[in-house]
Amino acid sequence: MKRELTARPAGRRALWAPAARLVGRRLLAAVPVLAVVTFGVFAVAAASPFDPVQQYAGSAGLNASQETLDQLRRNLGVDGPFPERWWHWVTHALSGDLGDSTALRQPVSQVIGERLGWSVLLCAAGFLFAIAAGTALGVAAARRRGGMLDRAVTSVSYTLEAAPPFWLGLLAIWLFAIQLDVLPAGGLTDTGSDAVTAGAVLRHLPLPALVLGVSQVPWFLLYVRQGVADALDEDAVRGARARGLSERTVLLGHALRSGLLPVLTLVGSRVPELITGALLVETVFSWPGIASATVEAATSTDFPLLAALTALATVAVLAGNLLADLLYGLADPRVALEEM
């Protein structure tokens, strides 16, 4: 007993140090990745057929004189080779100046600051729901493979994988907001009210989070089902059963624990999909997140905003992968963090 108590902190130190080194290595690796990605964004935007001046001017551009359009082009600084403009962006970004969004007539930092939190909240809630529901249903399905529940959730999963989140959103609004009238159809708070109260957000969050979550559930469900099902066939589980352990202990203590490992990898790799899904869900539900800004930035070739948002998405994906790797290292002692 005593030995164990003293050994634990030592063990933890042994784990924290490689973990810290892994984080450090990933941070270093993120620098070239971010540079390449943002450079790519500038290159693609420069090659895109969209004319930033027409996009900026919007409907006014169709009535403006050529003189005004030419002046706008000079003011917006959208001419010049893209590597030069990328370099200009990078050097300013490093000094903390992300530039101004031409499409939204605001500093980029303000655009992101105002909206990012709500997107993170939505993504986190949706993701948690997906993991929880996916794991629970996956275990239940794996327990009796080929049973009613298994066949039902598996076929529903394949259907959901093919269903666009946009469509799911409309369906959810129709069902919960119109037919059942239990949840509001959109927005962050009641449309007639400005105050952001926890209660209002809690009533408005479930529907978009549910839709986003549901669109992600199949991946977790099918992974967990497969993982747990495989684990149930392993010697260790058969041994546990032979020792007469309760079904509950066998399922949750043994099979789930080893079946969950691939799911951790999935957590990291689902992040890009989650971001894409959030873009659509936010649009349907008028959620005041980063999505509409992203769409606007892309179609108006708003270089500063586009670059910042892409960098942000890249960071999210890298962080997701890092988190998955760290968890994997923590969960499975055979995995050496040093090798990742």
């Binding site: 057929p49 969209f50 004319d51 027409q54 900026y56 001017a57 919007g58 006014a60 551009g61 169709l62 009535n63 403006a64 004189s65 050529q66 005004t68 002046q71 706008l72 917006l76 101004d100 499409a103 007539r105 605001q106 600051g113 105002e114 909206r115 990012l116 939190g117 993170v120 909240l121 986190a124 948690l128 409309l170 609004i173 907001a177 119109i178 009238d181 159809a185 959109g186 927005g187 962050l188 449309t191 007639g192 009210s193 400005d194 105050a195 952001v196 203590g253 789930l256 624990r257 969950l260 936010e282 349907v284 008028s286 959620w287 999505a291 800004a293 988190l323 968890l327 923590l330 969960a331």
Partner: protein, 534 residues
Amino acid sequence: MTARTVRTVTATATALAALTGAAACSAPGGDGDGDGGTDSVTIGVAQEPETLSPLLGYGREGNSKIFDGLLRHDADMNLKPALATKLPEISDDGKTYTYTLRKGVNFSDGGPFSAQDVVFTYRTILDKKTNNPYKDDFAAVESVRAESPSKVVFKLKYPYAAFAERTIQPIASKAIAGTASNNDINNGSYNTEPVGTGPYTLSKWRKGEKLSFKANPHYWGGKPTVKKFTVAVIQDDDVRATRLKSGDLDAAILPPNLAEPYGNDGGKRVIEARTADYRAVSLPSGNPVTGDRAIRRALDAAVDRKAMVKGILGGAGRPAYGPLATDHAYFAKGTERSRDLAAAKKILDKAGWKPGDDGIRVKDGRRAAFKLWYFSGDKLRKDHALAYASDAKKAGIDIKVQAGSREVIQPRLKHDPMLLGNGFPPDPDFDMYPALHSSQIGSGWNNMAFYDDKTVDKALDEGRQSRDEKVRHRAYDTVQRELAKNPPYTFLTTIDHVYVVSDKWKDLTTQTEPHDHGIGAGPWWNVQDWQPKK
């Protein structure tokens, strides 16, 4: 490491992420009045404004809620004084406009309104460094100065009869928008935190979700009865209709087919607003087919405008015969033309366009065929283009309908026709001069037909410069009759904008609405004057 520890770590990590997210969202203030009564109005619109700064174009079509112009339009589109005490005094040469300003008006932050704010607003818009794409509205202005704290004088480059209509331009606060710490007109905070003299103040703008306004208790025009005005931004037509149905919205703009079911709904009423919003096809002079007068006249006769109104607009619109809607004060009576396919064929036969083997007409070895562009994603224009092509086919003219972005279409305008939409109602000059005057050829998207007609040019100049109603009427009559003889555009329809409103307020009206309409159009154009029923 046990499984429990893993779970704890995972849970902590995700909870942390969620908390960081929640912490990053400042909880903004605002009054949490309940809704449902008649003192708050919530509307649903499709488009969010890019900016709320009048210096960058917000509110230029009037009814900006937050701001006032020197003048304003009433329900019948007559000019009325707003921040000015009366309509401007105009010099005999038509080049000097003098406005006397209302005294004792304050901005919503308490600062006084004066001539300096007017001068600041107009000078900033005209400044080359200001990215206001609507600045051509004021192309006639040579200078603007404050003659006294309550008198502003505009000097114009040329006599311009329609100038007063432009001075509905909202006035910004120099003290707020023009200060040293806030001098970034193009990207600064005035775009999102506007301060004006208008009936409402912005209480919160959560981009992508909604804009909330509350009544300005010190409004010089009297405190509005509707205390709270919320504009929800809902891009998708179906979702907007759904939220209206669920009671979340009091009013919304909807496509005619989605508005139709509310016709019989006791609690709601459908309001169709007349507009100047026309759809037309440009027929560029540079294309040997569309530049041919016989082809232009044949197309004009072959097209079935009534069928378009019925089939495409669901009845919510009217046939258009020129840039002015048929109920416009300057519409030339007698230029209405009904469909006459036989006449169209006769015109073509007479001009030497003979049907070829495939039924398409040919003259001197050239087929009567061309491409017709529309903006990708614009279903209304696509439907018009397809109907137009199908009508033309019956007369033996082959039109290939094609979608494209602005960038694809613009370089082709000189040669290819395009299905366009436009219309700004206050003065005939606003629609006709850019679309028809030869000086506008090749300037941006103006005069897409590359139309060059001496008689029309002369009449447009006359209409622009004369302030004599009779002279102007004669001038614009001349233009419209010339257009009927050799139509550089085939005008198709004027479309109504359809709104559905809860039947809780009395005497709702709409103005004649422009093509390019923000939150100032719709029955809520004068929400500050709304009164509950009973």
